[in-house]
């Protein structure tokens, strides 16, 4: 915790966990999709399911999906903004087992038909935690600059990434790797101390083993 967590953050009300956190989850989903959202299915669980209307969690998630920043004043008008931009969405309550009380599941489809499914929790003070990515258990907050790489579980995949980051003189702060089965789908989450250049991202994306490379910048 630092001084600007006490005097701050600047945010759109009314609730850091129900509004600011919800907006962040929408924004992370938009980043993971990597393109404009055409259609979104939003499922609210727990406290979200009970209070999403009053807390504007729906408007916050939609605003985030539209790419609005957490402190953007257009957040309260995001439903109208979505209509303007032709983004369709559905919202419904759900009941999950063993999930954090403020959990949302978003299935977002992009302009090109690309799809991403994110399950994330708003864990307090506007912070979030992504628990599932495309039905695979993961765990990252996106609080720092984070590289999310979806890949196949093959020998050398991690070495390739760390080698390329080393060439670019970039330091890895933390790193977690998740996988479904041996040789199956896997995800790397790397928190970085600096922001990688587009060139590096492009070379990472050109590697056969990597199905998807996303950069989560500060939310």
């Amino acid at each position: 915790m630092n001084l600007f967590d006490i005097i701050g953050p600047v945010m759109i009300g009314p609730s850091s966990s129900h509004t600011a956190g919800a907006a962040r989850i929408g924004r992370v989903t938009r980043m993971l999709l990597g393109e404009e959202v055409k259609k979104a299915e939003i499922l609210f669980h727990g406290s979200f399911a009970k209070t999403w209307e009053g807390h504007g969690a729906d408007r916050a998630v939609i605003g985030g999906l539209l790419g609005l920043a957490v402190a953007d004043e257009r957040m309260r008008m995001s439903r109208e903004l979505a209509a303007e931009k032709g983004m369709e969405y559905t919202i419904a309550p759900t009941n999950l087992r063993d999930a954090h009380p403020n959990t949302v599941i978003i299935t977002a489809t992009g302009m090109t038909g690309k799809q991403v499914k994110v399950q994330a929790a708003s864990v307090g003070g506007g912070s979030i935690f992504v628990q599932y990515l495309n039905d695979m258990e993961v765990g990252f907050s996106g609080e720092r600059t984070t590289l999310i790489i979806q890949h196949r579980d093959t020998p050398g995949a991690i070495a390739q990434v760390s080698q390329m980051l080393a060439w670019a003189q970039m330091n890895i702060a933390t790193m977690r790797v998740f996988r479904e089965d041996k040789g199956g789908r896997a995800v790397m989450a790397l928190e970085l101390d600096s922001v990688p250049e587009d060139k590096l991202l492009m070379s990472l994306r050109s590697m056969d083993a990597f199905a998807n490379v996303t950069l989560l910048t500060k939310l």
Binding site: N2, I7, I12, P14, T51, A71, G125
Partner: protein, 281 residues
């Protein structure tokens, strides 16, 4: 600095503003210079000021429709001389209500320390500036003082209603504001600590009981009560009254009270005001 008021007073050598700035420079990896921190704090102050204006609209309504427009009523009554508490208290009260209602209406606010208690610091600072002519630089310094005390409270106790009840949110904000008022009025660092203690004492045990789980009732009205606590706590300290209990012990007591609070009174929307029959329909 962040672990106790005692060390804050010792290490700062009377200059809490400098201590807070230095602490942030050491502990925030993104912080590059004191000028940069000050620039950000000025931005924060700008958002606070803006929210005191926008919260005053007569047609303001929250998403649920439970609150909004009350700050306008209060300010109008204060300006017409219809209230009992005088102009300064009335204006601070109206602005605290306004910012809190603006938050409920999905307005842009500064969580200080939380969104639920966001009306207290802006209302106090902006109105004292109006009354006594403080510069923005002075208000920014006052925010550092408030932040330093808030940091100790957050470290030793809590600033989360779900964890410590409303004493942790409106209570902490009132304590931070009281310390800031003392600073602006030229009091000593020790007097800021006393003001912080007096405010916490007065709001100790306050439960978090949001109706329908929303940050509205009683939250927005409690922001108003908290400003009167902040103001009177600061005045006691400024007059030279010394709090018999050290500030750190008051903060620790607040933590213990929070721990002893049943879950129904910690932001679950079950007990207290939230449990009132007419609010459960």
């Amino acid at each position: 600095m962040d672990h106790s008021v005692k060390s804050l007073l010792q290490e700062s050598d009377g200059n809490i503003v400098k201590a807070a700035r230095d602490w942030q420079l050491q502990n925030d990896i993104h912080a590059k210079s004191a000028e940069e921190l000050d620039a950000y704090m000025h931005e924060v102050l700008g958002v606070m000021r803006d929210s005191t204006v926008k919260g005053m609209r007569s047609d303001l309504r929250s998403v649920s429709g439970l609150t909004g427009g009350n700050a306008y009523k209060l300010m109008t009554a204060v300006e017409a001389g219809k209230t009992a508490g005088g102009s300064l208290l009335g204006r601070i009260a109206a602005r605290a209500l306004g910012v809190a209602e603006y938050n409920a209406a999905m307005g842009r606010i500064v969580a200080a320390p939380t969104a639920g208690a966001c009306g207290i610091l802006p209302a106090v600072l902006i109105t004292l500036q109006e009354e006594y002519g403080y510069t923005d630089d002075q208000l920014v310094d006052a925010l550092y003082v408030a932040g330093a005390f808030g940091l100790v409270i957050a470290t030793r106790a809590s600033i989360s209603g779900a964890q410590g009840g409303c004493q942790a949110e409106c209570g902490s904000a009132a304590a931070m504001a009281a310390a800031a008022i003392v600073y602006l009025k030229g009091g000593s660092a020790e007097q800021s600590a006393d003001a912080c203690s007096f405010a916490l004492m007065n709001l100790m045990g306050l439960v978090c009981d949001p109706v329908k789980g929303l940050v509205e009732v009683p939250c927005v009205f409690r922001n108003v009560g908290a400003i009167s606590v902040a103001l009177t706590a600061a005045d006691m300290a400024l007059s030279g009254i010394v709090c018999p209990i050290p500030c750190d012990e008051v903060i620790d007591a607040m933590r213990q009270v929070g721990d002893a609070m049943p879950s129904s009174l910690r932001e679950t929307g079950e007990g207290g005001c939230a449990g009132c029959p007419s609010m459960c329909r």
